[in-house]
């Protein structure tokens, strides 16, 4: 075991990695930093007040006095031109206009495509109607439900884990391999009886080993700092992360298989990562893209990884329900590894 070339190649890579402080920070520190920043930006906070303008008019004072009784509203009284300007520039959600008729009625002026305006319209109408004597058909009461899982941070963490797997696989393998080619170390290895597959497997294995602390640190940090839980099985989560790393290591090898300079491999890596950064749903759901593009997006390895990870981590689904994404990852990994082995430039 100790003298097996795969073990020694993997060990050599791990040692080189651990002795490079910059890479250690990049791999372990960067995802945590990102989690902290995004966690702060999207932290839980009380719902914003509803901004309502009351336009000068016959019943303006009446409406203003009613609405001001409620904390939830931020009421502003202003003339028509000001109200319209404030509505257009998004300073207010709704304008209450005194009705034209003699019966004390109101018109609501708002943009129906803005969800805050729709909410404001319902809230304001409800308060004003009740003030004029409308009775509820039955009594209701509000109870709070605060279970983590649906928050943005819960969505984000699997995204960041997947992003780490992608970047680690591509950059961790791409730069290192091309660097070894430039240093003619690959050629030197080729001059020994070393098996080419052993070398490639060693590089991939070392990636998988880095991943264990990398993903663990991120997941534990998210759990302690933001209470992000894994609802499904931890073993399934680990399996998916390793499978994803396998797929991206293969892609990393393929990208690095011919490049002769660091600039070339860096360009190729960015070109491969860009579509996944944008389309695969690290920061927002990939379902926002049009339906016709979905089959393509789902074939991207990062989409497959993130969908499966979120299904297991957030929805608590069994890994066995994720055969589609798993198949995508397996095919990517095997295919790229096989092609890389075939076209790999050793010198």
């Amino acid at each position: 075991m100790k003298n097996s070339p795969i073990f020694q190649l993997t060990l050599a890579r791990l040692r080189e990695f651990m002795r490079e402080p910059e890479t250690v920070f990049w791999v372990f520190g960067f995802p945590i930093l990102m989690t902290i920043l995004l966690g702060i930006a999207f932290r839980e906070k009380p719902a914003d007040k509803i901004a309502v303008d009351v336009q000068d008019g016959a019943y303006a004072a009446d409406a203003e006095s009613v609405l001001q009784q409620f904390e939830v509203f931020k009421v502003t009284r202003c003339p028509e031109s000001t109200c319209r300007l404030r509505l257009r520039t998004n300073k207010t959600d709704l304008v209450v206009v005194s009705g034209a008729g003699s019966s004390a009625a109101f018109d609501y002026l708002f943009d129906p495509t803005r969800s805050e305006s729709l909410l404001a319209r319902r809230q304001v109408d409800d308060r004003l109607q009740r003030a004029r004597g409308r009775q509820d058909a039955f009594a209701t009461s509000d109870r709070e439900f605060k279970e983590p899982g649906g928050r943005y941070i819960d969505f984000l963490i699997p995204g960041l884990v997947g992003m780490g797997v992608m970047m680690g696989g591509l950059m961790g393998i791409g730069y290192v391999t091309v660097d070894m080619r430039i240093r003619k170390l690959l050629k030197r290895f080729l001059a020994t009886p070393m098996k080419k597959t052993h070398f490639l497997i060693g590089i991939m294995l070392s990636r998988l080993v880095f991943l264990i602390p990398e993903a663990t640190i991120l997941l534990v940090f998210a759990w302690i700092a933001f209470g992000v839980k894994i609802y499904g099985s931890i073993v399934s989560t680990a399996f998916l992360i390793l499978l994803g790393s396998f797929a991206f290591s293969g892609i990393g090898l393929l990208i690095a298989s011919r490049a002769k300079t660091l600039e070339a491999v860096s360009g190729l890596m960015n070109m491969s990562m860009l579509p996944m950064w944008i389309l695969s749903g690290i920061f927002f759901s990939s379902s926002r893209y049009p339906d016709v593009t979905q089959p393509f997006i789902k074939l991207l390895p990062l989409t497959a990884l993130l969908n499966a990870l979120r299904a297991v981590m957030i929805d608590g689904a069994s890994v066995f329900t994720q055969t589609g994404p798993i198949a995508v990852l397996v095919v990517w990994g095997l295919m790229t590894f096989a092609i890389a082995l075939r076209i790999f430039r050793w010198q």
Binding site: N3, P5, R15, E16, R183, R188, L190, A191, P193
Partner: protein, 314 residues
Amino acid sequence: MPKAIICRQLYKQYPGKLPVDAVNGLDLEIETGECFGLLGPNGAGKTTTIEILEGLLDSTRGDVEIHGMKWGQSDDDIRQILGISLQETRLSEKLTVLETLTLFRSFYRQGIVPTEALARVSLDEKLGARVGKLSGGQKQRLAVACALIGDPKLLFMDEPTTGLDPQSRRQLWDIIREFKETGRTVLVTTHYMDEAERLCDRVAVVDHGKVIALGSPRELIASLGGDHVIEFSLIHGNSLVRDLKTLPTVQSVRQEDNIFSLSVSELHVALPALLDHLRHSNLELADLSTRHASLEDVFVTLTGRHLRDGLSTS
């Protein structure tokens, strides 16, 4: 004793707009147990030749046999008995010397332990040092240790001492000699004539991808007809060439710019005769020196060029 290396009618053409014939019909037979040198200027095809023999490059045409085995048929068996030091390899700087050797050892079915390889290249005390902290000479010795780790029968060294200080060069020569003394074969390429003279049992002088002379350094130098070289230059004029050849024991005369080189077999006869000749002709010497003939002279005699010049002057 079987031949260590046989190579017949080797050709290598690099494709391109103007195809380059790096190796152009090269023949070699290297005996087991000898230290054989490929000597030639930069660009002569030495590295291409050695890399074909090492199985790192495919030849365009020609046969290569390494201890009776052929590339493409028993690659793994050949690699198990080869030790190779490439012209430039930068080993991983973050690994220690011992870790590097342990890694290389894992590729071979059998070999020597890392500490023994280090002892052979006198690098024992650097066992735990990072490769990045080694000096140029130490790095080169580590590269040789990596070549020795599989206990090879045949050692290939491409320009092993280029860029090293004189002391490191001598250390490396000692390592190679010790290896040879165990009855194994060394093939070394170099463009240093002194290296070839001191290290090699036989030398093939390579130019334009062909062997243009073959033999022991002694034999090659003897083929010039004179063991000594007289070099001189004059303050005025340079029309003496015909007369110089008639001087006693002068074998050949060469003129480059204003410097005359005489290859002579008996210095004590030729030198006074030359001085008399100059005095009679009323020619004033600007400079005169004598030295032993070297492989450099062999190369210059054969090609009219110096080893260091490379192909630029051809």
